[in-house]
Assembly symmetry: none
Homo-oligomer: 144 residues x 4
């Protein structure tokens, strides 16, 4: 079993920011969690609102905590809104059904953590995270 390092996590944050800036996204907050759902690195770009860290963490937390990508969570929530309501309450809100929480995997496909972004549209958030993960030499899994 591999382990997500701080060096990889901080690269994901920096490169997701770089992607967002060059794509003209609004200021992002990016969080990278280990497989236990705990922060390894977080960055909030200038102008990104102060609730963004909680949202970025939550997007990654739900993905890694349920071991379901955001599309699978969205499908489950559509199928059973009350399931999602209960899970969100249980997790203190730390589950989202929109894109922006992405599995971080090794080249072998092993899950070593999850990253989340918040600040622009969900699909833009997701794109920035994916770019950050790939720039760190790792593999992103979104379910898309």
């Amino acid at each position: 079993m591999s382990s997500l390092t701080y060096s990889q996590a901080s690269t994901i944050v920096a490169e997701a920011f770089r992607h967002g800036e060059s794509a003209g996204y609004k200021p992002l907050t990016v969080a990278v969690l280990d497989t236990g759902g705990h922060l390894v690195a977080l960055g909030r770009a200038d102008g990104s609102g102060f609730l963004r860290p909680d949202v970025a963490v939550a997007k990654a937390h739900g993905v890694i905590g349920l071991m379901m990508d955001s599309r699978a969570i969205a499908a489950r929530a559509a199928d059973s809104p009350e399931f999602f309501t209960s899970v969100a309450a249980l997790a203190g809100g730390k589950v989202f059904s929109v894109p922006g929480g992405v599995f971080v995997c090794t080249s072998d496909g092993e899950v070593i953590g999850a990253a989340g972004a918040s600040g622009d549209a969900s699909t833009a958030d997701e794109e920035a995270v994916v770019a950050g993960i790939e720039a760190a030499g790792l593999v992103a899994r979104t379910g898309a």
Copy 2:
């Protein structure tokens, strides 16, 4: 009054796992609670996400705490979504309206606890729990 023993509870977990594996389910987490809603045994299979213990506990907790099976909870939630919202908030999310929380009864029909599973589809979760309860020589009640 009969009482759920640890031996019965750990058998439920082990046999629910065995059922899930032979049926090809995703990795499950199974929790068994006494009539006070407190854990007697819990197991999380390799690869089952870390939010699954909370969900498995919550499914059983709602059933035993409201003394309503999951179909009755679902019917009540359909009839009055606000009732479900308030109960879920009161219970900190520890109530679910989907299958997977099952009464554990003696052969006389006396309720001695509840078991819950999470990891695959709700009906699969429920089937695994029912199989575990029956393998422990007890009677499962789902409302189905």
Copy 3:
């Protein structure tokens, strides 16, 4: 990096119980957590109070969450009671300064989780957990 399996965790619970019974301890609750602080297996013996699961989890949680054994936590708490007060509040009480939370390590010394017990005196709780870990072919680290 190695990973704690459910099979190892359930063996720790069963063998800690066996040790406690043969040593004449009061009924124990034993919890085994992964490195993220999340439950892998938990058992509560017949007659063990319903707050025991929370205590058993908390003992293991503090050890793995601070990456300090219980003696180191006790020394820190003696040195700075307010540090301990704040950490306990932050962690929602899931940190203890008494024995009973033990690192679970591979034979190489790699930490793969933590186990905690509650029910008898702290040193008895700890002995049972250590016995369980060793019976599972793993190495216990207590700081003693």
Copy 4:
């Protein structure tokens, strides 16, 4: 009013880590908050326990939230332990009375945020944060 930038915050984290490594400290977690008490950057070094982010955030949070440096908080806590207990409870534990939470100021002495570290002894945590703040071209205020 000046404002703490992400660039400054991420430099504080990186340079606090560098200081800790060269001084042989245990793996640290470093958090940098703005004047609203919200995260701007956080890093958890490999091997730093998962409760460390909460502790690092809390150390900075108490300092900026009370607008008292950690020596002043410690003096107040010594003078009136009940004051500290109530504030710690109110803040959900996000106040510490030990060193490790440090004001981040401009060269004019204007407070633009606070940084906190956790992982080694409190004075070592504090030294690393001070080094990080100074390396970012800012001024640290500890009350020492």
